[in-house]
């Protein structure tokens, strides 16, 4: 019963508030005189034209900037293409050149290493140094009599 009453009150409230909302919206409405005054505002069309022309100029400048960029790209394309051809050609020539160089060196040359002269011992030198003998000297032996 109490819920029913409350619902009916809410519905009444809603209806009243809807009507009040309509009044509120109507209060916001402008008069014909105001509408006409704004529409007939002096220089309104002139201001629109000025803004249209400014926008057209801006668009033309933007288009111009793009064209300049495209023109730059157009000049750069042949140069880039030529560089690419040269790079490709030199890449293809590399193996042929290294092939030509190989027989001249006999093909047995070891790649140079750092400090190669310091560490390049022969087997005899290594044994001699381990035995504490100068290479080429006869070895002292405590041998049999």
């Amino acid at each position: 019963m109490w819920m029913k009453d409350k619902r009916r009150k809410d519905e009444l409230d809603d209806e009243m508030l809807n009507r009040f909302s309509d009044e509120l919206l109507r209060a916001f409405e402008a008069s014909d005189a105001e509408i006409n005054t704004a529409a007939a505002s002096p220089f309104l069309y002139r201001r629109i034209r000025v803004r249209i022309e400014a926008e057209e100029r801006r668009l033309a400048e933007q288009r111009g900037a793009w064209l300049t960029l495209l023109r730059g790209v157009k000049h750069a394309i042949p140069v880039m293409a030529m560089l690419a051809v040269v790079a490709l050609a030199s890449l293809m020539m590399m193996p042929a050149l290294s092939h030509q160089r190989q027989p001249a060196n006999g093909g047995n040359e070891e790649p140079p290493t750092l400090m190669s002269d310091v560490f390049s011992f022969s087997q005899d030198e290594l044994i001699a140094s381990a035995a504490g003998v100068e290479p080429g000297q006869p070895r002292q032996s405590g041998g049999t009599r």
Binding site: S21, D22, A27, S41
Partner: protein, 204 residues
Amino acid sequence: MPAETDAEMSAKMLSEMTDDELVVAARSGDESAFARLFDRHRRLVSRLGYRFFPRRDQVEEIIQESFIKAYFALDDFQGGNEKSFVSWLARITVRTCYDELRRAQRRGESNIGDLTEEEAAYLHEGLRDLSASGNVEGAAISRDLANKLLARLRPDDRLILALLKLEELSIAEISNLTGWTRAKVKMRSHRAQQGLRRLLRKFL
């Protein structure tokens, strides 16, 4: 009878041209054709602008913005029937108003929705009296107060309410103007009315 000058003849011709013909002429660079379109329809744009904005400078800005958008979109206009230019321009104007409402909300201009203590008290008294008497029609709501209350609504709620209650458009027409589906318009109109009721209930 004095001979008509070229300018007079041209003006007469323009006034006899239909909107579609004027659009074709404007597209080909005839400035006076676009000026003629502006003359014919500026009142419509002004009326739509006043549905959402209370100040003359705001409405003048809407008129300018709408006609500039229309000028740059002339190529998109397809024409076909008598009313098509009007509905096309109305669509542009409504879209411009909606964008401006959203921009104003982002800029925080909805703060103008803050009521003074006197206004809140007036509203409370008024609503209580109305609740008792049920006579809503006698409500004396100032435009400023209405603006402050409406500024508290979301831009899409405000758009729907203005088109539905002030322009008295149907759901289908609103859907056509806004580009929203009919279901969306229905749902939003329901939500907008609920939002306004909720807003008013705070003052009861």
